[in-house]
């Protein structure tokens, strides 16, 4: 079997695995977030948190809780890093210096996990487990909670209540993320991922040198960092490090973990909306975009266009032998189609077009399938824009799931769509206007611009992967990229919750013969089209100057 054929079988096996768990996993999440009664464990936790689980919140209260939780997470993670020197199990590392601690705290609480730190030389076991891993759980749970709140907006009628954030947060963490992560972590240990409390082990190598081997609670962090589409790993080399991703089959597991919850969320949507076909339609939109994009990345990497790849005769720079070119391409596509950002190969060294598709994946707004929760709410906003455009074509008031899309709804949806392009392009333009910033580009010419575009696409969309040659650790970029991460996460969440609040208040309109069916292939095709057209119009100029110019030289 050729490498490309093996890669195609790998993709087919992945699709089969995701299809097999679409219903059971989606149904499980549905039951978790809609169950009426609170069990004893949950009641105990609510008591410890001091929240009343039966008090449902309006959209404003829900948003306030999300913001307060994110703010406190940020502050506590910052303090934990700063105080590392006085904590046990710190591997002898001192406190993390303020700029880096701030950047890391922002990036983990926003589910971005931009890795400005080098884990093996700055972050001890306590910070990794009780700080970074915890945010990997809860920032993922926040995303799912917000998505569920938006779906409640569609499903409920004539109410201003969207559920209780603390209940959603607790239940998703406890009954969705924790069980899957635990099973996955044990499987990863069986593959060779380390899980111990050792700091360093010194080995005498065959040629008489010393090699310092690292330890830590890696398997538990690896499982949740991918399951929660976070991406920030314990080591600098992330999932290309053999202690994080030792074999070709752990690689398969990691890609599956990245994709399983985002691809099951449409099922939750369909169940809650009372029409499974609506879920299939959304899953189909995600699937179509994801398959095309993955095929393009694997194709471009296998074709190895470009001067260095042709000199090498394969795009092997930055890739591991055990994964090969094709499976590295699949991982890269999965991590940028979601908001994950973990890497098993280094995107800066990808072929120009392959790297360009990775950028495009993020610019699509990470909706195919997107981050846990974030992908679903992103795609539902695009669906709202699609029915609006369809409504304009036939001159009818647009509806989605029998809710009218009026002026307020379309304003919120449009604002949502504009947030990330605005952050990305304004941040990029402002950075390019300052001559000193050009020194951060490692490569000259179009590839240097690609590095900076990638950095802003990654931060604004909360992805976290990088063209890592880019020198982002300057005061300017720490600040500006930090702001992009913060606004790129929180503004869309507030807008989505506002949209949910305004939808929940409506009474559903009766479906008539003129209602545009949103579960048929025509609608799927239109959402795909709208997604691509909107993004192409927004980003084509900058893509032309970066990856396209790079690859067409």
């Amino acid at each position: 079997m050729s490498e490309t054929t093996a890669g195609v079988v790998f993709i087919a096996a992945m699709i089969a695995a995701l299809a097999a768990t679409y219903r059971p996993l989606g149904d499980h999440i549905f039951r978790v977030v809609t169950r009426e009664r609170h069990n004893r464990v949950e009641r105990g936790l609510y008591k410890a948190m001091g929240v009343r689980p039966d008090a449902e919140q309006r959209w404003t209260g829900y948003a306030r809780s999300v913001l307060a939780f994110s703010a406190l997470s940020l502050v506590l993670l910052y303090l934990l890093q700063r105080l590392q020197g006085s904590l046990p199990l710190g591997n002898g590392f001192g406190g993390v210096e303020p700029g880096l601690a701030w950047n890391t705290a922002v990036s983990f609480t926003t589910n971005t996990n931009w890795q400005a730190y080098s884990g093996e030389s700055t972050m001890g076991i306590v910070v990794q487990a009780a700080g970074l891993s915890v945010q990997n759980f809860v920032s993922a749970a926040v995303g799912i909670a917000v998505a569920v709140a938006l779906v409640r907006g569609f499903a409920r009628k004539a109410t201003d209540k969207l559920g209780n954030f603390w209940v959603d947060l607790t239940r998703v963490t406890l009954w969705v993320l924790l069980p899957i992560a635990s099973v996955a972590a044990v499987a990863l240990v069986a593959g060779g991922v380390v899980q111990n409390l050792a700091d360093f082990t010194t080995a005498q190598t065959a040629t008489g040198g010393d090699q310092t081997l690292t330890g830590g609670l890696i398997a538990t962090q690896e499982a949740i960092k991918n399951l929660g589409t976070n991406g920030g790993g314990p080591f600098n080399a992330n999932a290309s490090h053999p202690f994080e991703n030792p074999t070709s089959w752990t690689n398969f597991i990691l890609v599956y973990l990245i994709l399983c919850i985002p691809f099951s969320m449409p099922r939750v949507f369909g169940r809650m909306a009372g029409d499974d076909r609506q879920g299939y339609a959304i899953a189909a939109v995600m699937g179509v975009i994801a398959i095309v994009s993955t095929g393009l990345v694997v194709g471009f990497e296998s074709f190895a266009n470009g001067t260095v790849p042709q000199a090498v005769a394969a795009a092997m720079e930055g890739k591991e032998v055990r994964f090969g070119v094709a499976d590295s391409g699949v991982f890269a596509a999965a991590t940028t189609l979601t908001s994950t950002g973990s890497v098993n190969s280094f995107h800066d060294s990808f072929t120009s077009f392959g790297g360009g598709v990775l950028m495009l994946n993020m610019m699509l707004g990470e909706v195919a399938p997107g981050g846990v929760g974030a992908g679903l709410y992103g795609l539902l906003v695009l669906a709202v824009i699609t029915v609006f455009i369809a409504g304009l074509m036939v001159g009818r008031t647009p509806e989605y799931l029998r809710k009218k899309i009026g002026a307020r709804e379309i304003k919120l949806a449009s604002l949502y769509f504009l947030v990330t392009p605005a952050l990305l392009l304004i941040g990029l333009a402002a950075s390019l206007a300052v001559p000193a910033n050009l020194e951060s580009m490692q490569d000259s010419g179009p590839h240097g611009l690609s590095e900076m575009v990638y950095a802003f696409a990654s931060a604004s969309n909360n992805n976290g992967s990088a063209f890592a040659g880019f020198g982002a650790n300057t005061p300017w970029f720490n600040t500006v990229l930090g702001l992009c991460m913060l606004f790129g996460r929180l503004l869309p969440i507030v807008l989505v919750l506002a949209l949910a609040g305004s939808l929940a208040k409506q009474r559903p309109v009766p479906a008539t013969a003129g209602t545009f069916p949103t579960h048929k292939p025509l609608f799927v095709g239109m959402v795909v089209g709208v997604t691509i057209v909107l993004v192409a119009l927004t980003f084509l100029p900058v893509l032309a100057l970066g990856p396209l110019a790079d690859g067409l030289q």
Binding site: V9, A71, E120, W166, A203, T205, F346
Partner: protein, 302 residues
């Protein structure tokens, strides 16, 4: 107790929620998995797949590659060589404290030449392009293994074959001047002339920013004899594997150095080779660390 203002109450709840969830996901979860990882069969893997010599000393991990070079960084010929590594720390390459990749792009083809007075090692502003690194490695390996090390876009002196071409109209028009960008003066350029214009060597400090960068493919075979993984750095810098092709290329040298039969060495290579999992996941790979340990066991260095 009087009711707290709502915004304080919300933040208090948030604080308590973060702390409660930290206990569950940051303490109980990793420790529970740690406990499971103590089960025999899992425990050695959780410890890092460590390898021991007969005295019980740790000699490495079967998952973490090592560099088989001497104190000067020269290859020790009695060992199979690993891939190039960008994880260069205090103990040399393959240092797990500084895992990472080169992050150099596919069109990174022009060297920053060193001040001739200082040389490559003395001038910290000088750096070799990814293309030149690939060419250099290929020729070095070709020489070591006795095969043709040539590659497309490489000069036969082992640097990137890249011209800077000046045109009369900027990017179009007549060719007015041509510089071989990676060949410092007074090397004689790999190509005597381009489009009828004589090719110059690259002057240190000269400004070639207006030249169009033009890589020259040359006539080397498109599938070079030195395999791809041998001339590229991995993502982690700790890749414990090489391709079966790179292992096969090294067998004659190892057999000669160790005084062993090539077929016996080939058998050791086969033992250290893993195929694709289930026939389609990943790529066939030879574990260099395990292979070299087996080699030391079977044919100790004299």
């Amino acid at each position: 107790m009087a009711r707290l203002p709502r915004w304080i109450a919300t933040h208090l709840a948030a604080l308590r929620a973060v702390l409660v969830l930290t206990v569950i996901t940051g303490v109980l979860y990793p420790l529970a998995v740690l406990a499971v990882a103590q089960i025999p069969g899992l425990d050695a893997k959780a410890e890092g797949s460590l390898l021991y010599d007969e005295d019980g000393n740790v000699v490495g991990s079967s998952l973490i590659g090592q560099s088989y070079t001497d104190a000067d960084g020269e290859a020790v010929l009695a060992y199979f060589q690993s891939r190039p590594s960008m994880a260069a720390g205090e103990d040399g390459d393959y240092d797990p404290l500084v895992s990472g990749a080169s992050n150099l792009g596919p069109e990174n083809v022009v060297d920053a030449l060193p001040d001739p007075a200082l040389g490559w090692d003395g001038d910290e502003n000088a750096s070799k392009s990814l293309l030149t690194q690939v060419c250099e490695r290929s020729y070095a390996i070709g020489e070591r293994e006795g095969v043709d090390g040539s590659r497309p876009y490489c000069t036969d002196t082992g640097v990137g074959a890249v011209l800077g071409v000046f045109y009369s109209e900027g990017t179009t028009g007549e060719v007015t001047r041509v510089v071989s960008l990676n060949e410092p003066c007074d090397a004689s350029p790999f190509l005597p002339e381009y489009e009828g214009v004589q090719v110059e060597c690259a002057e240190y400090g000269a400004d070639y920013a207006k030249a169009i960068i033009t890589p020259i493919e040359g006539d080397a075979p498109a599938e070079p004899e030195v395999p791809a993984d041998a001339v590229t750095a991995s993502g982690s810098g700790l890749d414990p594997h090489i391709s079966p092709e790179y292992a096969a290329l090294q067998i004659p040298r190892i057999a000669a150095e160790r005084g062993a039969d090539e077929s016996a060495v080939r058998a050791l290579v086969d033992d250290a080779t893993t195929g694709r999992f289930l026939g389609f996941m990943g790529e066939p790979a030879v574990n260099v660390v395990e292979l070299n340990l087996a080699l030391d066991g079977a044919y100790p260095r004299s």
